[in-house]
């Protein structure tokens, strides 16, 4: 059951992208999401696509993982494409069927927006494919660090994230166990009318909730016994390492941004 979950799936490999500091990757993603909107003509989209393909190449991740990541959003992309084809008016009509027409601008916009979607998804999935969830957490904690000055609970947030990540598999195993226990008592999850199947979820969720609360309480006691008393005076075992490559990658993105500004119409 656990293996089916795609969320935050990390694919280990030895590549430049894997070795990069999670902070630089997060900064790059953030900037990328912004500069995608700069592209508005074929040339700028070409530049963006080239950059994205370069990144995918540098990650040494098999294309099938990227394609698998695209699948769930393909319908959304298709929907956007059709929406633009039918409703965006402008330029010469290409196809005319009575009162219904597909315009040049519709085709243009449809292709551009779908492409924008695809590029965004590829780049963000590159982040989760090359970075372990805990690295992302550490990176976020470090990047949000300055917010501590305005009393934003950065450390607590990061700890919450990492504990959640640590307990996902444990709770999955538990769900599996409760499900089997209920199935042994005659509850059906896989057949019967939808209404009954939905009802069967209740006796699954309630024991899961109760045990999660118990776990949380025990974990809190164990943490306290091990000397946890908040983020103050705490050191970090995992150190982040900003290297020349990280600066280089950010400069590369800056260059791409400049190119986009120059070539956009």
């Amino acid at each position: 059951m656990m293996e089916k979950v795609l969320f935050g799936r990390y694919v280990p490999a030895d590549s430049l992208l894997h070795r990069m500091d999670p902070r630089s990757k997060l900064i790059i993603i953030f900037l990328y999401v912004c500069i995608v909107f700069l592209a508005n003509n074929p040339w700028t989209y070409l530049i963006l696509a080239a950059y994205t393909i370069l990144m995918a190449g540098l990650s040494k991740i098999a294309p099938r993982f990227l394609i698998a990541g695209l699948k769930p959003v393909l319908w959304l992309v298709l929907f956007t494409l059709l929406l633009h084809l039918f409703f965006t008016k402008g330029g010469e009509p290409v196809v005319q069927l009575g009162s219904f027409a597909i315009y040049e601008e519709g085709i243009r916009q449809g292709i551009f927006i779908s492409l924008r979607f695809l590029l965004l998804i590829v780049v963000t999935s590159l982040l989760t494919l090359t970075t372990t969830p805990i690295e992302i957490t550490d990176g976020l904690e470090s990047l949000l660090g300055p917010l501590k000055k305005v009393n934003f609970p950065v450390h607590e947030l990061a700890l919450m994230m990492s504990i959640s990540l640590r307990f996902i598999p444990t709770l999955m195993q538990e769900t599996d166990k409760i499900m089997k226990a209920q199935m042994a008592r005659g509850v059906e999850y896989t057949s019967g009318p939808i209404k009954d199947r939905l009802k069967a979820i209740v006796p699954l969720l309630i024991p899961l909730f109760i045990s999660s609360f118990k776990r949380a309480e025990e974990l809190a006691i164990a943490m306290e016994a091990r000397g946890y008393r908040g983020g103050v005076g705490r050191t970090k075992y995992r150190q982040l390492n900003w290297t020349f490559a990280d600066t280089g990658m950010i400069l590369l993105l800056a260059a791409v941004t400049l190119l986009l500004i120059v070539f956009r119409g």
């Binding site: 990540l165 598999p169 776990r215 164990a222 091990r226 008393r229 705490r234 050191t235």
Partner: protein, 279 residues
């Protein structure tokens, strides 16, 4: 006489929602380097006792002192540095996402510098023989392995006392053996004082001294041999006598003379197969 590490004087503790106290005027001492087992059935107050030792709960009456610190709000963090605790559920005390992160958790809390942490994490994991599992995630480990990681997390902080609070009760026999074996080694090599809270008398038989708790009071204390002579009385207290002791008793009843009481299967077997020569 060994140095006294822990002393409880007339400790009384009552939970808010209960009518009678969980602990009634308990006084006891723990000495450096010993393995003390505290046994008793559910609700005898043994787990409350463990929580008081670590300052997770404060007694309403009486005095607790650990390694020279008298328990109070100010000293509780110093005391927690001296006493490590392994809890019952292996999953609910694993904080880190990987083995090494979990061992480092206590060190991070103590503010140990990063370079020192690296070696201390490795050393601690080496001692519990889990050093080849550095990047393993908890759900890929067995219960016994998780408990050994929990022990490593405590060892990394270099405490003088380890409390095992029913630490083996959720494990299978193999995991139980792993954990008890590890603790035994640590006690011999590093002179760590062990307090094991348990209702498993087989585990308690390995201790140097046993305290039997009943209804919030110390019922009896003594060496394992002395305690197991209580026999029927132990069963009356809701405890089960270890198999070799039971077997020894039955053999004696059927007229087979045994030289003494045997606490482990190995000793009993050795006695039996050599007994013919001694007669």
């Amino acid at each position: 006489m060994a140095k006294q590490l822990v002393a409880l004087e007339n400790v009384t503790y009552q939970y808010d929602d209960q009518t009678s106290p969980a602990l009634k005027k308990i006084s006891l001492e723990v000495f450096e380097g010993e393995w003390l087992a505290i046994v008793g059935h559910n609700g005898s107050g043994k787990s409350t006792l463990a929580k008081i030792l670590n300052g997770l709960q404060f007694p309403q009456e009486g005095n607790v002192s650990v390694c020279g610190h008298s328990l109070s709000e100010e000293t509780v963090w110093d005391i927690r540095k001296q006493i490590g605790m392994v809890f019952q559920n292996p999953d609910n005390q694993f904080v880190g996402t990987t083995v090494q992160d979990d061992v480092a958790f206590g060190l991070e809390n103590a503010g140990v510098p990063q370079e020192a942490m690296k070696t201390r994490v490795k050393d601690a994991l080496h001692k519990v023989k889990m050093d080849s599992f550095l990047d393993q995630e908890p759900h890929h480990l067995s219960g016994g392995q998780k408990q050994r990681v929990a022990i490593a997390g405590i060892l990394a902080l270099r405490p003088s006392i380890i409390i095992l609070d029913e630490a083996t009760s959720m494990l299978d026999p193999r995991g139980r053996e792993e954990v008890i074996g590890t603790v035994k080694e640590l006690k011999q090599q590093d002179r760590i004082t062990v307090i094991s809270i348990t209702h498993d008398l087989e585990e308690a038989a390995k201790a140097d001294r046993i305290i039997v708790m009943n209804q919030g009071q110390i019922h009896r204390q003594g060496s394992p041999e002395e305690i197991f002579q209580m026999d029927e009385e132990l069963i009356g207290l809701g405890l089960d006598i270890p198999f070799p002791v039971k077997l020894g008793k039955m053999l004696r009843e059927t007229g087979i003379p045994l030289t003494k009481q045997f606490l482990s299967e190995e000793e009993l077997v050795a006695e039996l197969w050599t007994s013919h020569y001694k007669i």
